[in-house]
Subunit: 345 residues, 4 copies
């Protein structure tokens, strides 16, 4: 049994990691930290875990905890991660970091959107943990930077067409919509039930911190530097991200040909489902699962292709993808612990 | 007192008209039809109206009802409207038609997106009922074609910038999101609570019937023929439309200059609110009101402006705008009966 | 114009008061306080109010504000109210207090459920502001204690049957369900969207502070001291309270006879609607209105009557009832500003 | 591998059975019927199942399907079940029937609440499939009548106290609240998103068909004939039932003693969790799982105990319990396929 720890286990992502790992046959959860809830059983903070998860939140005392696990998931805020991750690596541990700190390979870009990077020497080594693109590197990684939720939906949605060179990356617009778990479990007025319910809004227009991460990967796929318009929105639901992505076609293909490109790109992928022509993804059909569903529409009137991709932001957009990365890093079957079907309705 | 009738009063739009008209001091509701509910009191079908609205649904028997009102709101499906509206006009009545049948001035365009038009002789006379653009014409109209909900949000959001010639209409993309009242009150699996709740999806991508209506008005504002990408989505909420609209800038203006354009365009308008720079609309802040809230972000990185507009689809997107048009057609104060504040939360 | 002030205007109740008063023809809102938001326009904290409400939150500086209004609504937490209300009264103002501080006439009972009462000398004078029961007293009051939301629904639901002596008050059980606005607008994890949505729970079972208030009024109606079981629950919606109330019948009446009792008791009441036999209230049909809808079922199998009452907790359960009380205290028509129909859907 | 079939697989319960069985290591789903969707892949009707479930809905042709499975789940409406189940039994199959047709052992009682029973000869043999009460009988059953959702929550909530004789069954009141999946997947206006959202209501007060089923089991546990008040309500959520149950105490016990009774009664049960004193269940903490969470409050003021029980109506209230019964009937570990943790948030 692989011993795993979660640093920062009291947020929604930490709880989701706990839920998924509880069904993983090769893994034992041995450490779960939470500064705020240190000393409390996980099941007191998340009653859903009662009688099944018997671990107690502990404070982050590195010398104490580092020996009690082989792999660590770091689910702490950016800036905190960059101080913890190096300690874990130096202690010989493997790490799947769910923060943004090791996703952007260029420290200058990182610092433009976030703040000073205090561990830039690990940026080169960190592997961007999107298995559908970087599987081989993840297999050999000791530090995997788990992608952001929005980037996962946008990169998986566009990669086949960018690679095939049939869309113009300069015309890319990603209009994304997320459930409220994306905002985390901190007390705040803006995410109260009565503020979110029966409402819909955009936020951080043109300035969301996932932008440079998306642009880095889109640029690599396009073979040249690209900037995109990315607009996140808040949907009155708990889980799910749906991205509607617009791009001008540069080659005139039929819908069937585009379908073929998607199909071929993802045909071996266990977690990407391509919708039949004329049908589109919906977040309720991936809820609780590690799927990314992708559909598209070729709009000949405007010369654009409109791509729709849907994920559960806490699973394929965070904890599920992290476990998928762990499976790769340890040679487990990639789908282990991740095959439960979406919970619909 | 003006006597008004509602043809097709049992849907959500009809109920909303009833609600709004009940607070209008110059109007008496004398006729409400519903084929399906003929003989039932409105308050049995909508218990919210109990003890205040004492009308009974009647079947549509034109010769019976036509004399009992001066103005009719026709809230019936397209194709039905084109058979009813001419009868009302011939009987000397004024009409605010909430269907699509008289919105598109070119019968050929209408027939491409809908079906054969059997009353094209009225297309020329019908006035597109968007007061912020066509107020003078509405004042003199006897047939007002009340705009669609999505078009209202998109046209009001873009008109100032299109008129000012500072955005490129060929790059226009409207990504719109609507609450479930937009789907009406018919029994269907797709709009059951359990199918819509905790879910988000796009539908009718690139083929929604509001597209030609939007393009007609955008083209008029641009001074040339324009096609746009329009993608509607379903949000798990009852009321509200938020449109996120993307366009390339053709002139380099500052945010303050763009704000000024919006402010000047709408400064006399009682129902359009321009958000301060850095703040954006949200549907929950217009719910139940006739407001259209508009905000924008100039994204210099991409050379695009992103416009956000929000309305209550049943009010400014349907019944409220219809009453606003009625007010204009009868010389009432334009805001009469429409000043109640949004119901938040 | 009556000048009114709201002390504690930044919570949901304060915002609802603002919304309702904005449509009241005899009133001008001149003061709105908020310690936390002092200096900010109301419309920045509640964008729904933009362009219509131009007041700025001010801090609570009594000597400053007391002269600028004739009547004050105090929408502050209990314990705070008891320090503010006497100052207002001493300055010659009338007060509608929305806290619990003056609802319970027996200071000992109050202190058992709350804390020490520092202004018990006003308890005798304060009138319990339920117009359907205490209209005559409210007309002459200078201090009206606006009832709690749960008590309003339970007292109105049971008063006719208790008065008629046909149910056994010792068997009374009130199982109440409330939307999340009842928890207020403070940042807290328990009322985040993701904690409330897709969930249902009971809380403060047998120990909610509305219990003594309910028992005081139920006892007065019954003519003897009564204790009841009261269980509040949290519903994943914003507005609305529905109480399901159980009691053993002590006289064997028919449904028609019970209906008659309700009808006669409330036949002059503008805000109480009695549902036809076989139909029951639902919160969505009173949303945004000052109605209390009441229905009942006589269950001969068990010898119980089951009463259902529904209100909007922010309107008839708080701000609407407060305005109704104000209307009575100033001789305005009781329904002034309160006649807008429920917003459904 | 056990071959199982689902008769009536296109409703929410059928889909949930499919989801749960897909993770069951000893079972292969070989038959799924749907009159309405015959010929369509399950994954077209439930896109959540895409790429994992490759079965096609077939019409109900008994002679065709009966040989292709060993055990059948019948998830058809009552009255339909009583015609299908006997055919399956006569063909030597085992059956878990999810309808009401075989739950009530007295045909006269059944016929009073439902309609004529055409297969009363099987009532004696059928075992009421509540494993916590009837485990030994289920192990030997060939026809298990899977309990209703409401009855599951109410019987599990009260059984320990009834058995212990410490509450008065004549004072039992069950106030239950259910998510909208309980209404099924049929098109209807009453369960549209816009009718259910932001609303709460009671329905079928004192006349819901689960009443005789609850009374049968409560009476058996009490040792005498009991009638209860049972009021179902509709909550604006998809999944979950929470029952608030009231009863007078007949013995004066402490909270600790009551806790001990619950603890001892359920201590070996894998799917019943007893909440610590002072904490209560919530539906969001059992969602998607086979748990029944139970909490209680002893209210000395009123001499009543208030019991709260929560289940996922589609899992412990239907499909999960059905699989639990199947596990017992075939000697599988009772928890097989049922251990996934609740999906919160």
């Amino acid at each position: 049994m692989l011993r795993v720890g979660i640093i920062g286990a009291s947020g929604y992502t930490g709880a989701e990691l706990t839920r998924i790992l509880s069904a993983h046959p090769e893994v034992e959860l041995t450490v779960a930290t939470s500064r705020q809830n240190a000393g409390l059983p996980l099941s007191e903070v998340y009653p859903s875990l009662k009688d099944r998860i018997n671990i107690i939140f502990e404070d982050v005392v590195m010398e104490d905890l580092v020996e009690r696990a082989d792999l660590f998931f770091t689910a702490v805020p950016h800036q905190t991660a960059m101080s913890i991750v190096p300690q874990l690596l130096l202690a010989g541990k493997k790490v799947v970091d769910l923060s943004a700190d090791f996703r952007i390979s260029d420290a200058k870009v990182y610092e433009k959107w976030y703040q000073t990077h205090t561990a830039p020497e690990y940026l080169n080594e960190a592997v961007y943990g999107l298995p559908e693109i970087y599987r081989e590197k993840i297999v050999r990684a000791r530090l995997t930077a788990n992608p952001g939720c929005y980037p996962t939906s946008i990169i998986l949605g566009t990669a086949p067409l960018l690679k095939a060179g049939i869309i113009d990356p300069d015309t890319l617009i990603a209009d994304s919509k997320s459930g409220a778990t994306g905002a985390g479990r901190s007390a705040s007025v803006a995410t109260l039930f009565c503020e979110v319910s029966e409402g819909f809004k955009a936020y951080k227009i043109g300035e969301h911190r996932h932008t440079p991460e998306i642009e880095q990967e889109i640029s690599l796929l396009s073979g040249r530097q690209v900037v995109i318009s990315f607009t996140p929105h808040l949907v009155p639901m708990s889980r799910g991200i749906l991205s509607t992505i617009y791009s001008k076609m540069v080659k005139q293909l039929s819908q069937a040909e585009i379908y073929e490109i998607y199909h071929n790109f993802y045909k071996e992928e266990p977690f990407v489902r391509i919708c039949d022509i004329g049908t589109y993804p919906a977040t309720q059909f991936v809820k609780g699962s590690n799927f990314c569903d992708i559909g598209f529409k070729l709009d000949k009137r405007t010369g654009r292709v409109i791509i729709i991709s849907a994920i559960d932001n806490l699973v394929k957009g965070a904890a599920g993808q992290a476990v998928q990365n762990m499976n790769l890093m340890y040679g487990f079957k990639e789908t282990l612990g991740l095959l439960s079907l979406p919970l619909f309705p």
